[in-house]
Amino acid sequence: MESVGNEKKIQALFRELKLADERVAPEFIKMWDRAQAISPGWISPGSSRVFNLSFAVATALLVITVSVLVLWSRHGQPSEQVNPKVANESTPPGSTQASTPAPHQVTHATPPPTRPVQIVVAQSPVRLKSNQRAWKLAARRKADLEAKNAVIREAVSMSSWQSPTAILMQSPADHVLTSLPQLDRSLNELKIFLPSTSQ
């Protein structure tokens, strides 16, 4: 009985305390607004639309950029591969190129090769530059090959050189002069190598 009375007393005291606290409690809305102002991740309902819009714009821009890059890379690669081929086809194997002419073939009147630049005229400046670089590289390789071939041809021609007066040294008995008598041959056959004794 006494404990029940004490409990009621405690309850009453707590109720009184509660009433006193209610009087001094701060306003909820003020605290909530302050928390919203402090919170960096909080997005108010009004600003959510702006955020969504900006997010959508940023996403769209990103998608466009990525797709343009993909398209550019797909179209850019074949043109770079084709250009050296075009350059090779346009210049015949024996002809020289204006960029690196071989000294002994300068007199060849070959027309300048049709450059593949015409194909990539409508391309972007960056791609044009890369195409030109590839074409120059291919042309330089071809010129090097041509120079090597020229050296070989020169060596061959030097080895087969003949004097213009060599024809005067020719005679009907050249075979006698250029050949030697062989052993085990008859005397009659060898007579031709002996000086004539009839005189």
Partner: protein, 192 residues
């Protein structure tokens, strides 16, 4: 996004209903320091808005909120203790707030009984004070109080019983002292 906004507004409405009780609980957790309690409650709302404290519906919202308040109050007290230790180390002591003397809650202190009650509450251990507050002030069941405090129901019951006993004794002593002092004032010769 829209759902999140709706959830937040629903939660805001619920928190508004519990605001006064939350403040009372924060006061109890902060040893009746009003400024500290406000700071704690502000931090709790911030935690909820930032998603650091998320209600998953595992218990009643009130129980969950009170557990968050209690945890935040403990964290804040630790921080304050560290700050005071640092200020002591730097020989720059901060003026200590007296939760009773500096508090402008004069309305409460007008009543001598309330004052005695607060003193008696202060004498209790933190667990006893918490469980009594949750049961008598917030009208929570012992199970809910145990959930808020993060202890077993048996432990909560023990704290509750001991708390009640100590509070009763303390109040009786206070009343007796008050009675003696009152008698002394009225009739100094009556008490030798």
């Amino acid at each position: 996004m829209k759902d999140k906004q709706t959830d937040i507004s629903v939660l805001q409405a619920e928190l508004e209903k519990l605001h006064v009780a939350s403040f009372g609980w924060a006061l109890s957790c902060c040893r009746r320091d009003r400024a500290e309690a406000e700071e704690v409650l502000q931090t709790v709302y911030l935690k909820i808005l930032e998603g650091k404290a998320r209600y998953r519906g595992e218990s009643r919202l009130k129980t969950w909120l009170f557990a968050v308040i209690r945890k935040t109050a403990i964290t804040e007290q630790r921080k304050r203790l560290l700050r005071s230790l640092k200020s002591i180390a730097g020989l720059n002591p901060t003026p200590e707030r007296n939760s009773f003397a500096a508090e402008p809650a004069a309305a409460f202190e007008r009543s001598e009984a309330r004052k005695q009650f607060q003193i008696a509450l202060e004498r209790l251990s933190a667990r006893q004070r918490e469980v009594l507050h949750l049961v008598f002030y917030e009208d929570l069941s012992l199970r809910e109080a145990a959930n808020v405090m993060g202890v077993s129901i048996g432990s909560a019951r023990q704290h509750y019983e001991r708390g009640k006993k100590h509070l009763r004794e303390s109040l009786n002593r206070e009343e007796l002292d008050y009675g003696i002092s009152w008698k002394r004032k009225e009739n100094p010769g009556a008490v030798s």
